[in-house]
């Protein structure tokens, strides 16, 4: 029985260590290495045949040069700031779109709720790539939206949405909307309807009851939803590269290009390490929020 328990723990443990932890250490190591025109395209490489001296030489070869480079070239910090800005704005917009939907779902009759739930989840099961792609035909310069608006005589020249940050916002709102709706809905669904009635009974208007009772009580769901949108949006690659065009700077895209186009592995690794350091803050805050919500739920 004990060796079974050992196996049960050891197998997934070893798997995750090998395919998650070790790769990350490699990224860290390469981030501290120098670019070289070689295979692999970085130096130093650890040469164990050199014995202790080889290991020493290896560690002496590591430095923070790539990180210094990141601060010197404005492309990188602009991309980090751009990612933060786009993630933050699109999180707020997603909240504004998602909250009324979640609220209406929670108000709907019991027999409707499972169907509404399924309708929210269904897009999540369809390909992310296709969902992003579906907007190209709509917002492109010669796309449906512009054709319609011009046909109605509202505008004369096509709106430039494609290849601007606006297109990225639309893409993020569209693809991450379920992540915002579901936690808010589950917070609102738990809400006891008699609380609102009690607030109204005590002299609140419906709007005041919403403001003073419903909204504060749905806060854990709102916070969870915001993090669930913000965190993946920060490292997003597909949306900016399909909808954002060349002028939209997001760090996920920069990392991709650094690696695939420039083949600069050390700089790509350094970009990844810094991105992770930035992500640690919202992730820790999110964890705290979840723990608090869990405790409140007990």
């Amino acid at each position: 029985m004990n060796y079974r328990r050992f196996l049960l723990i050891a197998v997934p443990y070893a798997w995750l260590a090998l395919f998650f932890l070790v790769p990350f250490l490699i990224v860290l190591k390469i981030a501290l290495s120098d670019t070289a025109i070689a295979i692999p395209p970085y130096t130093p490489t650890l040469d164990l045949s050199g014995g202790w001296a080889g290991i020493k030489a290896f560690f002496q070869g590591l430095d923070f040069e790539n990180f210094v480079f990141l601060t010197e070239d404005s492309l990188y910090w602009k991309s980090y700031l751009g990612s933060l800005k786009i993630a933050a704005i699109s999180t707020v917009l997603t909240l504004l779109v998602g909250y009324p939907i979640a609220y209406a779902m929670a108000q709907a009759a019991d027999e409707w709720r499972p169907t509404l739930m399924m309708l929210v989840i269904l897009p999540f099961w369809t390909s992310f790539l296709i969902r992003v792609y579906s907007w190209i035909g709509i917002i492109a310069n010669e796309g449906l939206l512009n054709q319609m608006l011009m046909g109605l005589g509202i505008i004369d020249t096509p709106l430039q949405i494609m290849n601007t940050p606006s297109a990225v916002y639309i893409g993020i709102i569209y693809t991450y909307l379920p992540f915002m709706i579901l936690p808010i809905y589950s917070a609102l669904e738990k809400l006891d309807g008699s609380l609102i009635e009690a607030a109204v009974d005590l002299g609140c208007t419906r709007a005041a009851a919403f403001w003073r009772v419903t909204l504060p009580l749905s806060r854990p769901g709102v916070i969870a939803g915001c993090f669930l949108v913000f965190i993946p949006a920060l490292g997003e690659f597909v949306i900016p590269s399909l909808l954002g065009g060349s002028q939209t700077l997001m760090i996920g895209k920069v990392l991709w290009e650094e690696f695939f186009s420039n083949r600069d592995w050390p700089v790509a690794s350094a970009v990844a390490v810094v991105l992770l350091l930035i992500l640690v803050i919202p992730i820790v805050l999110f964890q705290k929020n979840q723990e608090k919500a869990e405790e409140a739920g007990k």
């Binding site: 029985m1 997934p12 443990y13 798997w15 390909s127 790539l129 296709i130 579906s134 054709q147 991105l275």
Partner: protein, 272 residues
């Protein structure tokens, strides 16, 4: 709550679902457009479907994707279920904090970083990139999703059922095989489906870990879409949306009864 929805709620639901579904609906409609120019309607036609089915590159990519999906989600389900069991039931052991960190971290890790780090690992291991490396990569990131799904089921699982099995003379393995597994099986299945979908859907990690001979469907779609809208991709998207829609709707109809039964069963398990 059986009251009528206010106009405000009806409006938000209508607009919300229109927003969610209209783009896909448009995509589907235009997949039947006869014109190569995607924005001009030139009559109904299914010719793009025909061209898609004759495109050997797409078919190859679809076949690679399917194989990767089945293999990686199966491995991920086994590993993820084991990990969930460890998280919920194994109690304290050395390195538990690191273990739970490694389970949850991939969920929030940007795909570009996961992809990059796995690629660098495969290179330093000297593994040739191909289907094997994609399967390894997909297994790793999807097993964490499986373990989240399964562990949330295990947490509501009445532990006295396992104790009862032990009390009646079952070994630990028997009590898992005969009692725990059959009861959590729906969660294991949904874990598998989730892993499968994520694997089918993944572009970024697959781009890093695939080799020239192992292009997956998302990679193929991405390179086609970068050049703009194409009717063939519209047709492919329609097929994929249809498969998912049919799958999800049937699954939910079929499982509706199963869920009701399971709820009734759970009320037995948990004290009334």
């Amino acid at each position: 709550m059986n009251r009528k929805l206010s106009w405000f709620n009806v409006t938000s639901l209508t607009l919300g679902f229109a927003f969610l579904y209209l783009p896909m609906l448009i995509l589907i409609i235009y997949s039947f457009n006869a014109s190569k120019l995607v924005t001009v309607w030139a009559g109904f036609s299914t010719k793009w479907y025909g061209e898609l089915l004759r495109d050997q590159q797409f078919l190859d990519a679809a076949w690679v994707t399917l194989r990767v999906g089945v293999m990686s989600s199966t491995f991920a389900t086994i590993l993820g279920t084991a990990a969930a069991y460890v998280m919920v039931r194994a109690g304290k052991f050395r390195g538990r904090t690191l273990f739970s960190g490694m389970i949850y971290a991939p969920l929030v890790m940007p795909e570009v970083i996961t992809g990059l780090s796995l690629l660098l690992l495969f290179i330093s291991l000297g593994l040739d990139r191909g289907i094997v490396t994609i399967v390894l990569a997909h297994t790793t990131f999807t097993m964490c999703y499986v373990s989240v799904v399964v562990s949330s089921r295990l947490m509501t699982f009445d532990q006295s059922l396992e104790e009862a099995a032990l009390d009646l003379g079952a070994s630990a393995w028997d009590s898992f095989r005969l009692v725990t597994l059959p009861i959590i099986f729906p969660a294991v299945i949904s874990g598998w489906l989730l892993a499968f979908t994520l694997s089918l859907d993944d572009l970024v990690i697959a781009s890093f870990t695939s080799g020239p001979s192992s292009t997956t469907l998302p990679i193929k779609i991405f390179s086609a879409v970068r050049l703009g809208v194409s009717p063939e991709i519209n047709a492919l998207s329609t097929i994929m949306i249809a498969i998912v829609a049919v799958g999800v709707i049937t699954a939910s109809l079929v499982s509706k009864r199963a869920i009701q039964r399971q709820r009734a069963e759970e009320q037995v398990g948990n004290r009334t």
